[in-house]
Symmetry: C2
Subunit: 384 residues, 2 copies
C-alpha cells in the first residue's frame, strides 16, 4: 500500500452527517455492490483497498445507513456523508450527492436529508410562500401567473400583453423563458416597457401585480440584468438553473442588493428526471430549487404536453414544503400546456398553495385577452 | 386570434441558421409530430395556430430540414433555427437546443451543426491540442495525467504525491474533482503546496509538468480561485461544467487575466447521456465542452468502472476534432478506473492525440509510486 497513513487530525470532523436516499436498480447483490461503490465513488474516488485505516476510511467514506428492497427491480439505500466534505458549498454538495454516480447506470437520487449543520451554510428562499403572498397581497387563494410571449414580438407588443394580463387580474406576469436579449426584444427595453406596463395597470386596478424578468443569461450578465430589471421596476426574477447553475441562483437570492423573489424554470433539467438514472422530481424541482433560494419552482403540470405524472408533481410539492431546517417553504408553479378546464382538478391535487401558470391557454379561451384573464381569476376565486 | 400581427422588422434576421440533429423515438407518425413540436417548443413555446403569419412563423419557428428513419425504433430530424434567437449567448443557445425538449420523453440531441455566424460569438479553447502540446513540450506522444487524492489527506501529503507524480514523468497532475475547499486540505494551501511541489520536481527533471487546480466552486468563488491558483503557480485549471454551468467555464477561458488551459470534469453530467432522452456523448463531452472553451475533456473510458462504450468514446473524440469554424481542436482525456494494461488498446482506439488519465491504477501497479509513473510513461513512449 503506497499511502500508509494520513496526518489529518480527526478533530476536523464533527459527527454531523447528511444523507442521500438512492434508488438502485438490479438484483440484491448488484444493488448492494452499487451502494458500496457509491460510498467510495462520491467521496475519495480511489481504490478502497489502497486507503489506510483511520480518518479517511472512518470519516470521509460514505456510509450505508440502510439498505432495503424497494420493489421487484430496485433497492433503496440511504447513504450518509460527513457534512465537512461538502465544504459548505452548494456545488460540492451536488458533487457529493451525484457527481460521478450520475455517469453510472441504474442509480437515482430520490431524496435528501439535510440536517441544520449543513443547512446553516444556506440562506434559502428570501421570500418563500409567506413573503410572496404578502408582496402580492393574496393571503389565501392560489396565485395566478402567465408569460409574455411569443418570441419575435417587439418590446411594445410584449408590454401591451403584460398590461392586459395585469388588468385582467394576473398576479405574476413573467417573461417567457426563451426571451433573453434577442434583437426583436432586447433585454433592457423589454424589461423597462413591461415593468412600466404592469405598474400602469396596477394604478388602474389597485392591485400589486408584478412583472418577473427572465435574467437567464451568460454568467457575468446575470447579476447585471437582475439590477437592470430591479431598477426598471420588475417585481421578480426568473432563472433557469439548468442553464446558469444552481449556485448562481443561490447568490442572486442571497444578494441583498437585489432582494427580489425568484422563480426557477426547468429548462435543460429534464434529462435528470426522465430516466431511471438521475434525480427525482422532488429533489431537483423541490428540495434543490428551495435550497438554492427559489421562491417558486416552475415545472410541467401533469396531464399537459409534458410527461410528468400526478404523483411526480405531488413529490415536487412535498419538496417545497417538507421540513428543511430554517428554509422557508416555496410555491410550486405547475405550468405547460395548461388550460382553464384543468383548474378544479389542480386545486384538488395541489391545494391552495400553488401558482397557476397558464400561458398559451389564455390566448385560446376567447377573443379578448383581458376577459380571458378575468374569467380565469374568477374561476379560481369561486372554487376555493 | 388575439395576436394579429407583429411590427418586428424582418431586417433584424439574417438568413444564417444553425442546426441540431435530434434522434426521435417512436413510430413515424409520432416522431414526425415530435419533430414539429420541437420547432415550436424550442422557440416560441406558444400555440402555433395562435401565431400570426409573418416574421415569427417564417423566422423564429424552428424548421425541419430533413427527417429520416434512423432504425426500427427511431428517426433522425435535422432542425434549424435562426442564429439570432440564440442571441450570441451560450446559455440561450443551450436553451434553444434542448431547454424544454429535455423534459419530453424520447428526444435526444445527437449532433450540432454550428456555422461561423454563430460561432463568431465564441472564442473557444485558448490553447487547444497544439497549445497544450507546446506548453508541455510534448510534440507527438499522448499526454500523461493523473490526480492527487484521496480526499482526506492533508495538503503536505497531497503535495508529496504531486511531487512524486511529476518526478515520475506525468505531464499533468490535477486535483481530484472532489477536492474543493475542505477542512482537511483547504484550497489556497493545497494549491500553493501542490504547485510548488510540481515546480520543484520540474527543476530536477527539466520537464515542464503542470499542476492543474480544481476550481469548481460557488459561482463567485470560481474566478477568485482561478487567480489564486495562477498566482500560486498552477499551470492549468479544472472545472466541472455540470456543477458551475458551461457559461462560467467559457468566461474563464475567455479571460486573458487568467490565461491558463482548462480541463473539464464530467461530474453531474451523466444523466444527459445515460438515457434515450438526453444529449449524446459527442455533443456534451465533445462539441459543447469545446464551444465552452475547454482545452481537454475528461470522460470515462470504455471498459472501466463506468458504462461508456468504445463507440461512445469515439463519438466524443469526433466532437473534439471535427471542423467547428475557428474553434481549436481539443484533447480527449479518457479516465476512470484505468489500468496500465489498457494502454495499448486505448492507443489503437484514440490514436496519439489523447490524454491518458490514470488515477487509482497508478497506486496498484507496484509499491513505489514514482516507479509506477515511470513504467507507465515508458510504456506509452515505447508503443507509439
Amino acid at each position: 500500500m503506497i499511502i500508509q497513513k494520513t496526518c489529518t487530525p480527526e478533530s476536523l470532523f464533527s459527527d454531523d452527517r447528511f444523507s442521500v436516499v438512492y434508488r438502485i436498480f438490479g438484483n440484491e447483490k448488484e444493488a448492494r455492490a452499487k451502494a458500496e461503490d457509491i460510498c467510495i465513488e462520491q467521496t475519495v474516488e480511489f481504490p478502497a483497498d489502497e486507503v489506510p485505516d483511520g480518518i479517511i476510511r472512518d470519516r470521509v467514506f460514505g456510509r450505508i445507513e440502510s439498505f432495503d428492497r424497494h420493489d421487484a427491480e430496485s433497492f433503496t439505500a440511504v447513504i450518509s456523508y460527513a457534512v465537512e466534505i461538502a465544504a459548505g458549498e452548494l456545488t460540492q454538495l451536488l458533487n457529493v450527492i451525484f457527481g460521478n454516480s450520475s455517469i453510472k447506470p441504474g442509480i437515482r437520487v430520490e431524496r435528501l436529508e439535510l440536517p441544520e449543520p449543513l443547512l446553516k451554510h444556506f440562506k434559502g428562499p428570501r421570500f418563500g410562500r409567506e413573503g410572496l403572498r404578502k408582496l402580492l397581497n393574496v393571503p389565501n387563494r392560489p396565485l395566478l401567473a402567465t408569460a409574455v410571449k411569443p418570441m419575435g414580438l417587439s418590446c411594445p407588443e410584449l408590454a401591451d400583453l403584460a398590461y392586459q394580463f395585469a388588468v385582467g387580474g394576473m398576479d405574476i406576469i413573467k417573461d417567457d423563458h426563451g426571451l433573453t436579449d434577442q434583437c426583436c426584444s432586447p433585454f433592457e427595453e423589454r424589461v423597462k416597457r413591461c415593468a412600466e406596463a404592469v405598474h400602469r395597470a396596477n394604478k388602474e386596478t389597485g392591485r400589486p401585480s408584478i412583472y418577473v424578468a427572465n435574467i437567464t443569461a451568460p454568467n457575468s450578465e446575470v447579476r447585471k440584468r437582475a439590477l437592470t430589471a430591479k431598477k426598471a421596476g420588475a417585481g421578480g426574477l426568473m432563472v433557469a438553473p439548468g442553464l446558469i447553475g444552481f449556485d448562481l441562483m443561490r447568490e442572486l437570492a442571497d444578494d441583498s442588493g437585489i432582494g427580489l423573489p425568484i422563480m426557477t424554470h426547468p429548462a435543460l433539467q429534464g434529462s435528470f428526471v426522465t430516466s431511471s438514472n438521475g434525480i427525482s422530481h422532488g429533489v431537483i424541482f423541490g428540495q434543490l430549487a428551495r435550497l438554492a433560494g427559489a421562491d417558486a419552482t416552475i415545472f410541467p403540470n401533469f396531464g399537459g404536453r409534458f410527461s410528468f405524472s400526478r404523483d411526480e408533481c405531488k413529490e415536487i410539492v412535498t419538496g417545497t414544503v417538507e421540513p428543511m431546517g430554517h428554509l422557508k417553504t416555496i410555491f410550486p408553479a405547475p405550468g405547460g400546456g395548461m388550460s382553464l378546464d384543468k383548474v378544479p382538478d389542480m386545486l384538488e391535487t395541489y391545494g391552495q398553495d400553488l401558482i397557476f401558470l397558464i400561458g398559451g391557454g389564455l390566448f385560446k379561451h376567447g377573443p379578448d385577452l383581458i376577459e380571458n384573464c378575468r374569467y380565469f381569476r374568477k374561476m379560481v376565486e369561486a372554487i376555493q
